[in-house]
């Protein structure tokens, strides 16, 4: 009973993961992520990875909206900020003091409803106009939060501080252990979010999204309520964007107006183009590349390297140059590798898979093929059906 179950699990693993190089690579990367805290003891580096996880959730939600439903949003920070602020207000001990496992779902649902409310007017415009309209939303809200008469609620630029942590630090915990806990919580949420979005994107609903992206008129001729699905895309994306905002709020333990900043709207764009648009897994890869470049290479390694070898100390203005460097990287990528790094890799691996003969494929398919050959014993060449 148990052995058959294990055998079935093993054979399905071989068929669905082991046989396909791209999935095997993804699986290995996931294993690496799972065991990274054992290799890295430095809490700063772990912190970078935690923030990369949060950014990955955020970018995946953006990728779903833009890559799968084709609605360009340059104001995705609004969901991030709304999620963060709502959970901050509800969980802050000065206001309601609710536990975070209650406030985060409430914040996510509220962001969903707000996404619906924002989606209705913004669906009247398309393409670049939609991008501009969505870009304005977070800026309006940020201004509202800094508005003087509301200062006793939102505390203006200072933000709401002193919030409960995502993983509370118990008496016996060291900072490192707390970080490890945070890392696993964010990693699990990232995994859950990307699996859910991937499943949606590959379900019938995802097919409808692709059809709307391809040809709206033909979709209508098929009887699809285009407006409904566009709003649904907005809401699903807003839901996961808000989740990222909630997590970051409780990680950093404050919510402030820069959560609505333009930078946060553009970050998912950069990250998604690094990884590959419309792939779901691309933004995850992109988020890690971004954070490793931004927080390790440019902030940590490069100044140290320059100091030790050349003897030059980088001025503090170098921080601004980082944005320039990322712009350059994205520009080069868009020209040279428009599919993004992750998509490019998987495509290459996919070519590899097709080039292999049926004989050389993984164990299960190889065995069934051999069995067939034995029973029929014709020994005819396998013909590839195209």
């Amino acid at each position: 009973m148990v052995t058959t179950y294990i055998r079935r699990a093993y054979s399905s693993f071989v068929a669905h993961v082991f046989d396909i190089p791209a999935r095997l690579l993804a699986f290995l990367l996931f294993l690496t992520l799972l065991f990274i805290p054992f290799a890295i003891q430095n809490t700063y580096y772990l912190r970078i990875l935690i923030l990369a996880n949060v950014l990955a959730i955020f970018a995946v939600s953006w990728d779903f909206l833009v890559g799968r439903t084709g609605q360009i949003s340059l104001g995705h920070a609004i969901f991030f900020g709304i999620g963060g602020y709502i959970t901050a207000l509800l969980s802050s001990s000065k206001f309601f003091g609710l536990p975070i496992f209650l406030t985060i779902p409430i914040a996510i649902l509220a962001a969903c409803i707000i996404a619906l409310a924002l989606g209705i007017p913004s669906l009247r415009v398309k393409g670049p106009y939609l991008a501009l309209v969505t870009m304005s939303f977070p800026l309006i809200l940020a201004a509202l939060l800094k508005w003087y008469p509301l200062n006793h609620i939102f505390k203006g630029e200072f933000g709401i501080r002193g919030l409960p942590a995502l993983v509370p630090r118990l008496d016996w915990m060291t900072i490192g252990q707390q970080r490890v806990g945070e890392y696993y919580v964010t990693l699990i949420l990232l995994f859950a979010a990307s699996v859910i979005l991937y499943k949606i994107a590959n379900s019938k609903i995802g097919l409808v999204f692709v059809s709307i992206l391809d040809d709206e008129l033909a979709s209508k001729a098929c009887g699809i309520n285009v407006t409904k699905y566009k709003l649904m895309g907005f809401m699903i994306s807003g839901l996961f964007g808000a989740l990222a905002g909630c997590i970051q709020t409780h990680l950093l333990r404050f919510a402030n107006p820069p959560m609505f900043a333009l930078t946060l709207s553009f970050l998912p764009v950069i990250v998604t183009f690094l990884g590959g648009l419309g792939t779901i897994y691309g933004p995850i890869v992109g988020a890690y590349i971004y954070y490793i470049l931004d927080s390790y290479v440019l902030r940590d390694w490069l100044p140290r390297f320059l100091k030790e070898t050349v003897g030059v100390t980088l001025p503090p203005e170098f921080d601004f140059a980082k944005l320039l460097i990322f712009t350059l990287i994205v520009l080069i990528l868009v020209i040279k590798l428009p599919r993004g790094i992750a998509k490019f890799t998987t495509d290459k691996l996919g070519d590899l898979e097709e080039a292999r003969d049926l004989d050389e494929r993984g164990p299960r398919i190889w065995k069934t093929y051999k069995k067939k050959e034995k029973t029929t014993s014709t020994g005819s060449e396998p013909t590839a059906s195209s």
Binding site: L123, R124, V125, K126, K204, L207, V208, V210, S211, L213, D214, D215, L217, A218, S219, K220, A221, C222, G223, I224, N225, V226, T227, S386
Partner: protein, 244 residues
């Protein structure tokens, strides 16, 4: 089955259809022919309800007056998906398959509104029977199909919606003469299986050869209508509109 009375459509001031009245009985094969810009596509878009949603949110929407009745129900104010639900299926001009999908997925999209899986499967088999090439191309991206195959796919997708009334917009567009005839032959076969067809065409000869009744549309007006014999009788009609 379909009854249009005094349908007038303006695009931003320009008149596309001028008091068009048209009638399609159940089980009929009706053709509409006319030169470029005579309002053929507009007519079909108005019937299927897509017309009012071409450019959502634009200030200058097309304006529509008159009445369109399907099985005794007015559908000129209905949304496109409701009209599709009633069984009026539009097979749009220039084929418009979903380029990023496989052929099979395209056909599955056609059956979007239907729930009964066994019936969908039966219809899929039927479509494959009508267009055997689609079965061969089932796993291929539809943008890599040839023009004729794309046209077959578009008709197949419309069939997957289980149409009562099938509106076909210029199936012969950009096809070789032999392919045109093949596509028309299949359309006739679909009609014989009990689907009412309203065919809009520029190619007069093939429409005359297949449709039971033909409307001639010119400058947004119905110039004349009748069976093939009736139309061929009048010399004026033959020379001015049909060019035969």
């Amino acid at each position: 089955m379909l009854e249009i009375k005094d349908l007038t459509v303006h695009y931003d001031g320009a008149m596309a259809l001028n008091r068009v009245s048209l009638k399609v009985e159940e089980g009929e094969f009706v053709g509409v022919v006319g030169p470029n810009g005579s309002g053929k596509t507009t007519l079909l878009r108005a019937i299927s309800g897509v017309l009012m949603e071409i450019e959502p949110g634009k200030k200058e929407r097309p304006s529509l007056s008159g009445s369109i009745m399907f099985n005794g129900k007015g559908i000129d104010k209905s949304k496109a998906w409701n009209i599709t639900k009633m069984g009026v299926i539009h097979c749009p001009e220039r084929r418009r398959p979903f380029a990023e999908m496989t052929t099979l997925d395209n056909l599955r999209m056609g059956a979007y509104l239907r729930k009964n899986r066994s019936e969908i499967k039966k219809d899929l088999e039927w479509v494959y029977e009508l267009f055997p090439i689609l079965k061969e191309r089932a796993r291929q991206m539809s943008q890599t199909l040839s023009g004729g195959e794309q046209q077959m796919l578009a008709i197949g997708r419309a069939l997957m919606s289980k149409p009562k009334l099938l509106l076909i917009d210029e199936p012969s567009l950009g096809l070789a003469p032999l392919l045109k005839e093949a596509v028309l032959k299949v359309i006739k076969e679909i009609w014989r299986s009990g689907v009412t067809i309203l065919l809009v065409e520029q190619d007069v000869a093939i429409t005359l050869a297949s449709a039971q009744r033909i409307y001639i549309l010119a400058h947004g007006r119905i110039a004349t209508q009748g069976t093939k014999e009736e139309l061929m009788k009048s010399r004026d009609v033959r020379e001015i509109y049909l060019g035969l």
